[in-house]
Symmetry: C2
């Protein structure tokens, strides 16, 4: 069952994995998924054709690079990256994020490459 009424404890879910740039699904609603990921280092420049993407920083400090500027997103802050906008997330130190995005979203967007995770698991 994808849509449920069970509580999700973010800290508990984050304790279940240690790898970076590999989102896990923790909830689904209205065709959107809630994912958790740990980030460290620099990701790849990419965009999503059809999906807007929300990043909520649960721990740490995320640098979101855009082609025309950088945004620093601190703990307790969120940023929405609209479809079509190129971005590159960078985490100098480890960052924990919560993502809201359509179930169809691939982490590397149209860029592909070795950091692409084809099939995400639920935790």
């Amino acid at each position: 069952m994808q849509t449920e009424q069970k509580r999700v404890n973010l800290a508990e879910k984050f304790s279940l994995f240690t790898d970076h740039w590999h989102p896990r699904i923790v909830g689904e609603l209205n065709g959107q998924q809630v994912k958790l990921a740990k980030l460290k280092g620099e990701f790849v420049w990419h965009h999503h054709e059809e999906e807007d993407e929300l990043f909520l920083v649960v721990k740490g400090k995320l640098l979101m690079k855009f082609r025309d500027r950088d945004e620093v997103v601190n703990e307790g802050e969120l940023i929405i990256v609209p479809r079509g906008v190129e971005h590159c997330p960078v985490a100098e130190e480890e960052v924990h994020i919560l993502l809201f995005e359509p179930a169809s979203t691939v982490n590397t967007g149209t860029a592909g490459g070795e950091k692409t995770v084809e099939k995400l698991e639920w935790i």
Copy 2:
């Protein structure tokens, strides 16, 4: 512009209002909205016909009553209430929540009544 790349600081947004049971919109993506609300006391029993609803507790402790049981949702936890499921949020002490739900969602669902907020504003 509804979809943007600006950072949203949750604490800063929560400082902009004091009333209870009156959600404010802070973001929009993929037809869904991100809302913030302060809760205190007991809401009304209601359900949403077409919308699943996510509650993320940013501060405090939320009691979510269902017809068959209660769930306590603590700070750093989220709960997804599927469409059609009757629920009644209760906050003994003030609770700050982030909501993620379709833009069409009315706070009191099909129940209506005096706690209904017809038109939500952006902050």
